[in-house]
């Protein structure tokens, strides 16, 4: 673990310089300890680090670093993550890139859906846009590069993959990930108290739903 200065009122804690489940668990455990401290303004956990903004009227830089250095995380504790289940309609009218993935990877469309929906993913980071959760790891059989020509507008709630990561676009936005389905779950919902159904460190499982179920749950084609 290494603690570095970030700005006048923030520091960044680095765990290891590699993306892995083990590092993600450390980030999650350390995060829980930081949340207990007084005078914390904002916390941004990510793949291998946590940025912490603190109130400089509560701590000087040295005092804050000292506190952080003395936080103990029990690396032996098991992975007790919450599992969030997300319904996905993998139909071709919303899965804009399934056909080209199928051609490139020499897999049937139903194989791709099976591979994607049978894994459990971990939320490594949330950013880019509110509720945009970076999840991994995607099975290497369906590891796809980003599109050469990003789309100008990806429909809201699209499920996408890029390299070893998968994500849902919470709002319509430009983007270069491969679109493989669409969900009815709002990833950034202003009507909810917690805004976003997942947090960094949670686990996510996608389950396929039929077109009928998708539409019944308010899905938009």
């Amino acid at each position: 673990m290494e603690i570095k200065l970030a700005s006048v009122d923030s520091v960044i804690v680095y765990f290891e310089n590699v993306i892995s489940l083990d590092v993600s668990l450390k980030v999650k455990q350390y995060l829980e300890e930081i949340k207990k401290l007084e005078g914390i303004i904002d916390i941004v956990p990510s793949y291998t680090s946590i940025l912490i903004t603190y109130d400089i009227f509560n701590y000087s830089y040295e005092q804050f670093v000292f506190i952080l250095e003395n936080i103990k995380v029990n690396t032996l504790s098991s992975n007790e993550s919450k599992i969030v289940k997300i319904p996905v309609y993998y139909g071709e009218e919303v899965a804009l890139d399934l056909r080209s993935i199928s051609e490139e990877k020499k897999l049937s469309i139903s194989d791709i859906i099976d591979i994607h929906s049978s894994s459990t993913y971990r939320v490594y980071a949330i950013g880019f846009a509110p509720g945009f959760a970076y999840m991994g790891e995607v099975d290497e059989r369906i590891n796809m590069n980003r599109l050469e020509n990003p789309r100008k507008a990806i429909p809201k709630n699209s499920l996408a993959i890029a390299n070893e990561q998968t994500a849902i676009y919470p709002q319509s936005s430009p983007g270069g990930w491969n679109i493989i389905g669409r969900t009815t779950l709002e990833m950034f919902d202003k009507s909810l108290d917690n805004l976003c159904p997942v947090n960094v460190g949670d686990e996510v499982k996608f389950f396929p739903v039929s077109k009928k179920e998708f539409l019944k749950e308010g899905g938009v084609l």
Binding site: V8, S49, G131, K190, V200
Partner: protein, 305 residues
């Protein structure tokens, strides 16, 4: 209801306050007034609570009509405010009468003007803050800039004692800015000669700047690495992609990103930077964390009533 009717919404007029905190972990940016110095003075001149909402006016032609008497303050950029056709200087309060028309005519000095009313506008907070972030759709008025059909309600107020800020407290918005920098983050991923170049060079504000960040033109500062594993971005971070063109990340920045950062600009200096017009000359000098924190504390303590 009493308030301001919008005659012309301007190009980018936003309701703001100090910002939205404790949601960064799900990707929500801090938002808030770009120039906190002008923001705090706007409220202090009126005797408002420190966290009252204000309007941040980034371009001229914004124009409103008062439906009832109200005391206002104007701080920040001089956008040539006229009240019923008469030029009215910023850094001052004004007693506005029913039917008065306010119009920001043209940009004279600085970039962003702030308008506060006695008691603040009667709007609702969105996730603990009035601040507007257009890309997130969050903020007091549906998360967007003002439009003509909006109405800005307030509680009428008469006979405020007029206050004009002393000249020595009014920023001059010079054509050259020296920004104090805390070397931090990936500072070791820049070779000594690149760091020397960074502190010795003069940069200028690029027109491609906005509430997310200020892009700088000038010498290329080349990091040893092309990118990093995405991590949290602090206010004022100086991000340098492999193209070598620095960008200083401000209130509407992305919460995480994967470019190398050489350090961060002291927040007080970011407030000054937010008033810098295109082509303003920028230089950097180093500051240590102890003095930086003292300066920040002094800044905030000055606004405690």
């Amino acid at each position: 209801m009493s308030g301001f009717e919008i005659i012309n919404p301007g190009i980018l007029t936003l309701v703001q306050d100090k910002g939205r905190f404790s949601y960064a972990h799900i990707g929500v940016t801090s938002s808030g007034c770009m120039d906190e110095y002008a923001y705090f003075w706007a409220n202090k001149l009126l005797g408002n609570a420190k966290d009252c909402n204000v309007l941040e006016i980034a371009f001229p032609s914004f124009s409103i009509k008062a439906s009832e008497d109200i005391s206002i303050s104007i701080t920040g950029a001089d956008l040539s405010l006229s009240i019923n056709g008469k030029y009215s200087k910023p850094w001052s309060t004004y007693n506005i009468k029913k039917g008065d028309i306010l119009k920001f005519c043209k940009s004279l000095k600085g970039v962003r003007a702030y308008l506060a009313v006695k008691g603040g506008f009667l709007l609702n907070k969105d996730f603990d803050s009035y601040s507007t972030t257009i890309k997130e759709g969050l903020g007091a008025i549906k998360g967007r800039a003002l439009i003509k059909s909006d109405f800005l309600p307030y509680t009428p107020y008469k006979h405020n004692h007029k206050k004009v800020l002393k000249e020595k407290y009014i920023p001059s918005y010079d054509e050259t800015l020296v920004l104090r920098v805390l070397l931090s983050y990936q500072k070791d991923e820049f070779e000594e000669k690149e760091k020397e170049k960074f502190f010795a060079s003069e940069f200028s504000v690029s027109p491609e700047s906005n509430r997310m960040g200020m892009k700088l033109n000038g010498e290329k500062i080349i990091p040893k690495i092309s990118g990093i594993i995405s991590e949290g971005i602090a206010f004022g971070s100086i991000q340098i992609p492999s193209s070598g063109q620095p960008i200083i990340l401000l209130k509407d920045r992305q919460t995480i990103g994967g470019y190398a950062k050489i350090g961060s600009v002291l927040a007080i200096d970011c407030f000054k930077l937010s008033q810098a017009k295109n082509n303003t000359k920028i230089r950097f000098e180093e500051i240590d964390i102890k003095s930086a924190q003292e300066k920040m504390k002094d800044f905030y303590l000055d606004f405690d009533n």
